[in-house]
Amino acid sequence: MTPTMLRRVLIPAGFAVVAIEPWFNDFSVQGSAGRAAATALLALSLVLLTGLVGQVSFCQYSFAALGAFTVGSLVVGHGVNFWLAALLGTAFAGVGGVLVGIPALRLQGLLLAVLTVMVALFVDVTVLAPGTWDGFSGGVNGWPLVPYPSLFGHQLGSYTFYLFALAVFAVAALLVWNLRNGKTGRVLRAVRDSEVASSTLGINVAGWKLTAFGVSAALAGLAGALQAVADGSASAGSQSAYSFQWSVALVATITVFGASSILSAAVAGFFIVFGQQFLDKIPGLSHQWFNLILGGILILQLVFNPDGVVVKTQRDIRHLLHRRSQRTQPLPVPAQTEAA
């Protein structure tokens, strides 16, 4: 069995299990699952930017906030159709990504990280500040009661919306997978490995980086729009689900699982949502411990396994299959020298 065959069996099987399991659970689990699918999409936006193009971002949740609050204010505040609002939110976030990308063109590594932190903090004190949405006829803390949309005349519920969000993630993951394995992926990795060599081979480095920032932010905006529905609200204030600390948690999680892997985006989405709920069930702990424990895992992981858990596991499986395929080949005929 080759790694490709294994992947073709295991990934659809795992996907089916993840899709069906919440059907046996109550609506709160289904809502959380929807949020996990949206978070996976957000993690995918970071895999695209960091894993493929080598740019860091500590403001992915800020782009998600643009999507979420566009949906909140348009759907709840003005009764606009969800699909139109989600499209606009995605576009806003994409434009925001390009705007952040312009100054980011001249920065790399630590300074780029600082820039994205500043962007996140800026969004925290503007979009996410308590009272901002008062003026747009929202509540003090943003937009409560974001309803489930209907799709082709069919009203979505907590489970069907989860399936929809999961499908969006799957399609996006497939597109990113194809991009990565084609010409575009090679060009992006070239930019990541050596910008100066890329430019002297005819690659428009600035153009590709801006595109990457724009597409990544647009994916994040779409994730935010989905999360607003899954949560049933787009909440501002100090308890906001889109604040800076969650962007940091996202970067940490995707680093733990492996920033270069699309599969690790899926794992990261479910880990962030259900990891917190798991902590709530342990006596003496609560979801507020999540970032602390995540930090501990991150340190261990960086020391012992810097490529990330999912990437390491995939590599181990590949090695194992490789070894087995070698062993099952017929043994070479032993040379008849010793006995003679």
């Binding site: 991009l179 090679r186 002297t200 081979l201």
Partner: protein, 254 residues
Amino acid sequence: MALLEVGRVSKHFGGVNALQDVSTLVHRGEIVGLIGPNGAGKTTLFNCISGVESPASGRILFEGRDLIGMPPHRRARLGIARTFQNLQLFGSMSVLENCMVSIDASARRGVVGDALRLPWARFEEHRARERALAVLHFLDIAGAASERSQDLPTGLQRRVELARALCLRPSLLLLDEPAAGLDAEETIELAGFLRKARERLDVSMLLVDHDMSLVMRVCDHITVLDFGRVIATGDPSVIRSDPVVITAYLGEAA
């Protein structure tokens, strides 16, 4: 008309004149050597031609077209390729992928075609692979096509950089110390490849190197730089016996 015309180019770093009124010509089909002691401004001139740095004054014409102010990627698409003194391979990628990037870069963008794996994206992929393999065969390194480039020894890495540059199908190739780190035998081999590339691929070259055996072997003309100025220019035989050049290399006492 010269393929490349560098006219009175100057460049300063702080108070240091890296280049001062440097002029040189490369005609179609020529291999021109650029030599000089360390710090003479050779790499700076390369950076100005390939667009990585911009000169303070002067003009750089390629096929009669002014390059000043043009970003590096557009110069590459006009047909100027280069290699780097400190190797700049895409370390995480295989030798073949390194070469395919040159071909990808000049192809249409095709993000949509790639994302949906449309037939023509696959066709282009196939064509890029074939073209890159052909160049690897040309340089006799097709056997290393699937090796990760950062795992190769320096000599091979230099040749992969050469292959990657040739995949661009350039009309002008800028070679920044291609023989650095090569032994005598590899250098002779390199000289053979350079001459073969000029004849069969119609590439003109501007070559910087400290290895005089290479420079004297392959160059039609030589320009000598010292402290950012051109101190001599001419045929290899003339340069070899020019007292000014000998002084610059060996010091005043010589």
